[in-house]
């Protein structure tokens, strides 16, 4: 039963992936985001591809965008965001909050 539910969820997400949201790349290096300011279209679902180039894991977190995702070292993660209203949305790397900060600007 659980496996079936998971399969349904998976195929649903695969279907959604095929739709093709605008994509934005962010990388993490030395516990910093690059770029740390990203402009995205407002009112549209967007796809963030976050590459963690550090050897250590990081948690990509944003309360305003409702994101919480652990990204293991040396891996890439895909995160869907929005649709966002126009405005600024902060995000942090929770495991290195002092240095890993960034903002997404929806226009």
């Amino acid at each position: 039963m659980k496996r079936l539910a998971l399969a349904v969820l998976m195929s649903a997400s695969l279907g959604a992936l095929a739709a093709g949201e605008p994509e934005f790349a962010i990388s993490i290096e030395n516990h910093k985001f690059a770029p740390d300011r990203i402009e995205v279209p407002a009112g549209k679902k967007v796809k963030l591809v976050v590459e963690n180039k550090d050897a250590t894991p990081e948690e990509f977190e944003s309360h305003s965008m409702k994101i919480e995702k652990v990204i293991p070292g040396k891996t890439k993660a895909t995160i869907f965001v929005g649709p966002l209203k126009a405005g600024e949305y902060k995000f942090v790397g929770e495991f290195n909050e002092k240095t890993a900060k960034g903002v997404i600007v929806a226009k």
């Binding site: 250590t56 409702k66 293991p72 993660a77 995160i79 495991f95």
Partner: protein, 273 residues
């Protein structure tokens, strides 16, 4: 060291609150300590396994494995808590009046306790695996000395458990007459809050639409990153900027459990005159 303590504290707090509520809600059921300890143990072992399998889990389902994993374990906890509350709505009064009188209730109570073992294990698993990953990250980045890291981790762990214990103690102060009502309301809100969190992960994985995000914004009043925000999030699923879909999940689970509770109570009243 302070940073390590703070992060460990926040992760532990959420699990400790859930364990505290469950421990309070099962007052008077014989043998519950064994089940709570079993849940904690299974959760801790699971955390370590999940943390080291994190990379594999992330890569599942086109990179959405982590979200689906989180949403599924939250879903399991919601079902278990719902079942607990419906069961308690029938047997809570009996437990309150004949807490010492065992007999047939023991076997039923024990069966019911295995449900709570799962809830505790799931709560510890979710928060614990993040803590393990974080500490592992700190350890291999070499930013902190080993001693500082262990000290920070210990401070955070003790702080989180202390706050959970405080909630548990506070719950026990409630007069027995109102005790089961109070804990069943807490468990109800806990389940609905977990459902809302599961919705959030499914939105993030692009499985569900957000409907409206955010539906409202109270982050100016209580922010989710503050300790009060974390406590409220753990207890009642507080979210300063909830998506419409989260509210839908919250309400549906709340109503479903309430209907189940009143149905079970009515049925038990008609079958035992």
């Amino acid at each position: 060291m302070f940073g390590t303590a703070l992060i460990v504290f926040r992760e532990v707090l959420e699990a400790a609150l859930i364990v505290g509520i469950v421990a309070a809600a099962t007052q008077g059921i014989p043998g519950r300590a064994r089940y709570i300890a079993g849940g904690l143990g299974a959760g801790l072992i699971g955390s370590i396994l999940v943390a080291f399998g994190a990379e594999g889990i992330s890569q599942l389902a086109e990179g959405m494995g982590q979200e689906l994993f989180n949403a599924s374990i939250l879903g399991i906890a919601v079902v278990m808590l719902a079942w607990h509350n419906i069961w308690m709505s029938v047997h809570g009064r009996e437990l309150a009046t004949n807490a010492k009188k065992l007999g047939r209730e023991v076997s039923q109570g024990t069966r019911e306790l295995s449900v709570l073992l799962v809830v505790i294990a799931v709560a510890v698993l979710r928060e614990g695996s993040e803590t393990v990953l974080f500490l592992y990250g700190v350890a291999i980045s070499g930013d902190a000395t080993r001693g500082a890291m262990i000290a920070g981790g210990a401070v955070g762990l003790v702080g989180g458990i202390a706050l959970g214990l405080l909630v548990f103690r506070g719950l026990l102060r409630i007069p027995l007459r109102h005790f089961f009502t109070a804990t069943s309301i807490l468990v109800l809100l806990l389940a609905a809050g977990m459902a809302a969190q599961a919705a959030r992960f499914l939105i993030q994985a692009n499985v569900l639409p957000s409907l409206a995000s955010p539906l409202w914004d109270t982050s100016g009043v209580v922010d989710n990153s503050s300790t009060l925000g974390k406590v409220l999030q753990g207890l009642v699923g507080y979210d300063a900027q909830p998506a419409g879909m989260q509210i839908a999940f919250f309400v549906i689970v709340l109503v479903t459990i309430l209907v189940g509770m009143s149905w079970a109570r009515r049925r038990s009243e008609t079958s035992t005159p």
